[in-house]
Amino acid sequence: MTTMDILRQLDAQVCPTIDAGMVVTDVPREEFARMGTTLVQEHGFRLMTLFATDDRVVAQGFGLRAVLVHDATHEQVMIRTLLPEQDPRYPALTTTVMAAHWYERYAMDMFGIVAEGHPDPRRLVHHENVPEGTWPLRKDFAWNTKMAHDDVPYPMHHVAGEGIYEIPVGPIHAGIIEPGHFRFNVAGERIITLEGKLFFAHKGVEKLLEGRTLLEALPYVERISGDMAVAHALAFSQAAEAIAGVAVPQRAAWLRALLLELERMTMHIHDLANIGGNGTGYTMLVAHGFRIKERLMQCAEAVFGNRFWRGYVVPGGVRADCSDTTIQEIAAIARGAAEEMGVLVGTGLQSDAFRERLETTGVLPRVTAIAYGAVGVGARASGLDIDARRDHSDSAYAILTPAIVTETAGDVYARFMVRVRELEVGAALIARIAREIPDGAHMVPCAPVHGFHVGVVESWRGEIATALIMRDGKIERCFPRDPSFCNWALFGELGPGNIVPDFPLCNKSLNLSYSGTDL
């Protein structure tokens, strides 16, 4: 049964169409949740992204779009509904699909549309100081609006019972990390519940992107999460290219893959050092791991002019070609870094005390990972075989066919090992790119005018899904969904049962981006 058939069977009224490889269907708002639920629960779809649009000018209402993906058949479905301007309500998808819970809260904060029956309808992005009725992503909200200070309650969850106490940590931490508040409910050392309060530094990226051209928007997109510049730029560019209907030249696609893998290697080395070193206090790992990582970053600076590979990936290809000798040199450095890191990690793993810290810590069960729509390393370490490089591959990855690494235990050790093996895979990919990269142009013109697409890229953190709507050559709406947005809520599941001093280890094992979540 094709996806079209499923949709028709679900509701005889709908008439799905196919748009740039994606099945699109409009449903009445009462049907939105039921449709999504059936696709997820009965047909094995995964909620990839869900976002709202302000369509009041053209359609007198707010649009709500959910993109679902079937990871085995690689099919994408978009369910779209229109909520009337005066009464923007619909039955919540979260009532049945846990993966939707942050998306729906996000839309409530940003657009003022109400997901009725949401089990946790608290604010998400807006903190206490934001007045009621502030909906920043509505078109009539100017980006430079000065808001009054308010004191709307932002209640955290409490565990009832005498003897419970709460540990508040953050947003200001002892270490230099991004702002995030975590609240533990504890009766001693063992975590009973754990909840995060993020969104302390909302940048307004989505608002700022609106009305800009692609090239104006690109610097913002690259800086959504500093350590994922390539991946975000790539997801954004792929969406634009699909709307424009251009095919990127092969050489450009391979150069993009080279950069994506370099970024992945660098950050995996960082994570291995950080989990192993700072998380457990194994200073040897962190001291040498960061040194190795630094080699790759200096390589980036030498070749691309900055330490984070920014400004290279552009819609239509890459900004400049790269000589084959340079690629060889990059590959040599990457190989060396991977080998040295392999030795270092191997030494670390010989320590029982080290493995003991990682094993059975922060277990994320497979069912939970599926229910929350987990992506990336966190999902693969719990046995979910998903990787956008294979499932939504572009022209380069279709040839490169990277090996997908999964583990089953779902603990910190599994996540550590996924990274260890992905590091090897990455080095092998880079070596192959250096050997086999095809010749050709490095760029084609890309000028999308009108349309919608979702660009999907497997960053080192996990799947990025950048939804892009263009109107008259300008960005109408862009929702770059960072993998962290899907994975943050997992802490509520993998934290409890661990002891408080092991939480930093769990945290580092997912290494999520605050900035990427807090657009």
Partner: protein
């Protein structure tokens, strides 16, 4: 009959106590109440002074032949009893002073005349049990003490109190029955025998009978002292009583059990084998470990203290056991040290435990709850009481320079010295004692720190704690008195040792003399002086560098999010690692129940935590026995079928059996 100031003092004190008991029944007014307490305080003060004078005097047993009216009952004060006599009277005096405002403040809760009278009878019972020189006198006073305290446990007529009191009643009477049976075994059933005659007749008994008598005495006095597994009543009953009675029960009545045990097992019974000493020490150790762990994990201010009593009595019995073992093994040095340490610890424990119970009373008076989880921040709100509390808690932790440290030091020094040259069995035993003792006393520190810290420091965890104020001065002074006593017990440890007849551990007869155990010297006053000197140095050090330090007040670091009292450590949380590490022993479990907010989404849930704590002993020992008894009783009840003829047959059969036995 030789009259001396001491004997007059003692006579005055018991007569005064008795008259206080009668006076209490004369009226319900507060004026009568105050009179009663003043009389009681004066009589017990007299008794304490008389006891001290006796101990520092010529120590000739004081006799009152004049009271020889009831079945040859004579009152005798011998040196051992005198130690306990001082404890009883000293603590009772503080308790009486404390009761003046305490009972007055709770006159709606308690029936004042009844409570006052029962307290006086309770004290009278404890005084006379120490003076009794024969079985009937001893048992009579013992019962007075037990019954009075039974009524006092349920003085507030609360359901929990009545339940606790009933449990106490059962245990104490099983104990009393065992003691009486023990005396009967020794004296051939004659309850009028003098203790000296009893000792003589005991010498002619064969060893199975001696062992039987020992077992009965150990059961009887052990159940009163709250030794595991006979302790189940203690953490229930002691906290339920009014606080000054809790102080008397935990601080003093338990010591009467120790006295009784020393009197019977060590003075009356001849030549017990070393195994008995090992048994006593073993039971003591188990009690100490179980008590200290339970105290560490508990969340109720008075129950923590009650568990701490189980622990301390365990330590005392452990010392006594080692004494018995060493005495029967011919190790006089260890025997002497262990006995000294045990008696010393009795004195010190009386001071700090009654002081802590009186403190707890003051705190509960201000807070109207015993739960530590609602306290916090009392050090700001009641600085004087909390200061005394800290001194007493440190004393109870056996930290230098307080008294309990020196008691434990003597004992451990004695043990270590005995290691050298001991045979393998002795060595194994002494090592086990050493390890268990050290473990229990370390855990006791944890319990005491938790108790003080959760109650007194940090933010108030409830409105009651936030508005708490220093209790009336009348409640604070007795505690201060005992806190001073706590400090003196350390500084003047040598004097106490001399008073309890352990001069051989003291080198000179100065008040602040050093203590010498097996060649090791410790100078309590010197050490205290050193600590004070170091404090002064630390202060000068700070002054030297900074002069007057500048200060700024700024809220506690909150990581950028406002914090409340719900975010500070609780008693439950503080002891969580201990609960986790010793879960097999403590048997309490956190139960988290969750409920999904929406039935169709299992991941958004609300949580509730409760604590399931159960007692291993209750579950696997006491309740099975109780069930067995209930079951047997139901079986026997079948006899009661209501037909007269059947009863007549039964009576006839009983007569026949009696005849057969008689002939």
């Amino acid at each position: 009959m030789q009259w001396s100031w001491t004997s007059i003092g003692i006579l005055v004190s018991i007569a005064g106590t008795l008259s206080a008991a009668l006076l209490a029944l004369c009226g319900r007014g507060l004026w009568t109440h105050r009179m009663v307490q003043v009389v009681l305080a004066m009589s017990t003060a007299t008794g304490a002074v008389a006891g001290v004078v006796f101990l520092f005097g010529n120590r000739v047993p004081v006799l009152f032949d004049a009271v020889d009216v009831l079945y040859g009952l004579r009152l005798v004060l011998h040196p051992l009893a005198a130690i306990f006599f001082v404890i009883v009277n000293g603590i009772a005096c503080a308790a009486a002073l404390y009761a003046i405002p305490y009972v007055a403040a709770h006159q709606r809760t308690y029936h004042v005349p009844m409570v006052n009278s029962a307290v006086a009878v309770f004290v009278f019972g404890m005084q006379t049990v120490l003076l009794a020189s024969n079985v009937i006198g001893f048992m009579f006073s013992w019962e007075l003490m037990s019954m009075a305290s039974f009524f006092l446990v349920m003085a507030d007529r609360d359901e929990a109190s009545v339940k606790a009191a009933m449990l106490y009643l059962v245990m104490t009477h099983l104990g009393a029955a065992a003691i009486l049976a023990g005396f009967s075994v020794l004296g051939g059933g004659n309850p009028l025998l003098d203790f000296s005659a009893l000792a003589t007749s005991a010498r002619s008994l064969s060893s199975p009978y001696i062992l039987l008598a020992f077992a009965l005495f150990f059961f009887g006095f052990g159940s009163k002292a709250g030794l595991v597994p006979l302790h189940v009543w203690l953490p229930e009953a002691h906290p339920q009583a009014p606080s000054h009675v809790s102080a008397l029960m935990s601080g003093v009545m338990l010591k009467i059990a120790v006295y009784g045990f020393i009197l019977t097992a060590m003075m009356l019974l001849p030549g017990l084998p070393p195994g008995i000493g090992m048994l006593v020490a073993g039971v003591g150790l188990v009690s100490a470990v179980a008590g200290s762990l339970a105290a560490a994990a508990n969340r109720d201010i008075k129950q923590t203290l009650a568990w701490s009593s189980v622990e301390n009595l365990g330590l005392i019995f452990c010392m006594l056991g080692v004494h018995m073992f060493a005495a029967s093994r011919g190790m006089p040095e260890l025997a002497g040290t262990a006995a000294a340490a045990a008696l010393f610890h009795c004195v010190v424990h009386a001071i700090f435990k009654s002081g802590l119970f009186l403190t707890a009373g003051g705190i509960v008076h201000a807070m109207h709850t015993r739960s530590l989880e609602r306290m916090g921040g009392l050090a700001v709100r009641m600085p004087v009481l909390s200061g005394a509390f800290l001194v007493l808690a440190l004393g109870a932790s056996a930290l230098p320079p307080f008294g309990a440290f020196f008691g434990e030091w003597m004992f451990l020094r004695g043990l270590i010295h005995a290691f050298v040259g001991a045979d393998a069995g002795t060595m194994a035993f002494l090592l086990a004692v050493f390890s268990g003792f050290v473990f229990a006393s370390s855990m006791a520190i944890f319990a005491m720190v938790k108790l003080f810290a959760i109650a007194c420091v940090g933010q108030p965890r409830s409105a009651a704690a936030a508005h708490a104020q220093e209790p009336p001065r009348g409640l604070v002074y007795p505690v201060l008195l005992l806190a001073v006593g706590m400090i003196m017990s350390g500084v003047a440890a040598a004097t106490i040792l001399r008073a309890i007849g352990m001069e051989y551990l003291v080198r000179t007869d100065r008040v602040f003399a050093p203590i010498v155990v097996s060649g090791s010297v410790l100078q309590p006053a010197g050490l205290a002086g050193m600590v004070i000197l170091a404090l002064v140095l630390a202060f000068l050090f700070r002054r030297l560098w900074t002069g007057d330090p500048r200060e700024r007040t700024y809220p506690t670091w909150d990581c950028g999010q406002p914090i409340t009292a719900a975010m500070e450590y609780t008693a439950t949380a503080f002891s969580a690692p201990i609960r986790f590490f010793f879960r097999p022993i403590l048997q309490n479990r956190k139960i988290v129940t969750t409920a999904a907010v929406v039935a169709t989404n299992a991941y958004v849930r609300s949580h509730t935590m409760t604590f399931a704590s159960r007692s291993l002993w209750m579950e696997y020992l006491h309740l099975p026995i109780a069930r067995l008894i209930t079951w047997k009783s139901t079986q026997i009840r079948k006899l009661q079928n209501g037909t007269i003829q059947f009863y007549l047959i039964l009576i006839f059969l009983a007569l026949l059996v009696a005849l057969v036995i008689a002939v």
